[in-house]
Symmetry: C2
Subunit: 252 residues, 2 copies
Amino acid sequence: MINLSQIKIIPVNNFPSIYESDRGASYIVDLLFDLAKVIDGDIIVIGQKIISKIEGRSVKISDVKPSETALQLAKEVNKDPRLVELILSESIRIVRSAPGVLIVETHHGFICANAGIDRSNVFGDGIFLKLPENPDRTAMEIRERIKSIYGLEVGVIISDSFNRPWRKGSVNVALGVSGINPLVDLRGTKDDVGKTLESSMVAIGDEIASAAQLVMGESGGIPIAIVRGMRPDGSDVGWQVLKRSNTEDLFR
Amino acid sequence: MINLSQIKIIPVNNFPSIYESDRGASYIVDLLFDLAKVIDGDIIVIGQKIISKIEGRSVKISDVKPSETALQLAKEVNKDPRLVELILSESIRIVRSAPGVLIVETHHGFICANAGIDRSNVFGDGIFLKLPENPDRTAMEIRERIKSIYGLEVGVIISDSFNRPWRKGSVNVALGVSGINPLVDLRGTKDDVGKTLESSMVAIGDEIASAAQLVMGESGGIPIAIVRGMRPDGSDVGWQVLKRSNTEDLFR
């Protein structure tokens, strides 16, 4: 799906604040089409936070009762035991822990700090947001609504900023994908000098998410960007093709 | 440096093939300005391969004599002992090794497979390319030449595609940077609801490199892309601000 003509990254400005448990994915689509001219073939990149909000994924930390395990771990990582409980409830595995750091594998299969749970850009004191339950499903719902109401074939990516080992700073990655294959497999194709590429697979879905963040910023005011000039292929493999299995991964 | 207006990612088409040991960085600048309209404030993203070629970083594998260490390690990872010797000569540390996998820390401080040494898109049998000796220095030379000859203030990023733990597929990252700070530190700033951000640092240099790859592709025909619409800040901190030190990193 890599293409060689110009691409535009367009911020969707003036998106209104989304409050917790607002409405469904259809609400986001309607707001988007009020504000932006979406055209056939666009890829819509949506920050996970507004998805979590409309899906009612917010939790009042004072309502959380930490388990014995959470109390123990909270001491080790020097975090609020209730937050640790919340993180554990969204996780299937602890990948690394140290003072100030708790990296887990979420039930989706994402490996990230704090199971992606965060309180920035969230209204209200002591309110934390969990990641969307199933970002691939939500991406598909949004794409299907755009197809059925507006007759447009688009790609949809739900993104979040993740930190990495070895390199400082977060980069946006794809948590949910519909309408494009986020992994371009070039193995077996020829390079420019006629040699067969042996191992090249490009995480184009993550690169599109990173490109979108150049206009979205981190403070949340621009929760949606449009990437225009690529060709979505209608694929519905979802983010799962980007997931490295345990056996392939030397870093779990 | 994040900004909220539209950004364009423009491929530099028809770039001629670069042969090994061709000329210096000035040659790339002259070719670029023959082919593309660069304007003030553009960020020029250049794949490392053409930089390595003009800097004479190619090695004929048949000229390499493997050491005893390389012979041993080659058995473990099931790679050509001469290639392993070459990888070790560019490395300061082995991070992980397994059959088919050799992840090292290079003398620059990059953690990547095979010290970034590769033979795709390289003319000639048995010719491998090492990463540029000092990508920050080369990025600065290119930026300074653009300033002195053409009077334009630009940013320059030298990029390569790296694989990651946990997620399949490579993404482009910045190996060398001049004219922009590749790490945006938002710690202490306010989010949209007035809360202070505690830990947000964005690896914008890596995200720009990833955005560029949407038009560069992997097969090398488009070795340069122009990212237009951001504002380089003239910073010269280089890629080093993206490097996690040993003590900060739980994954070495």
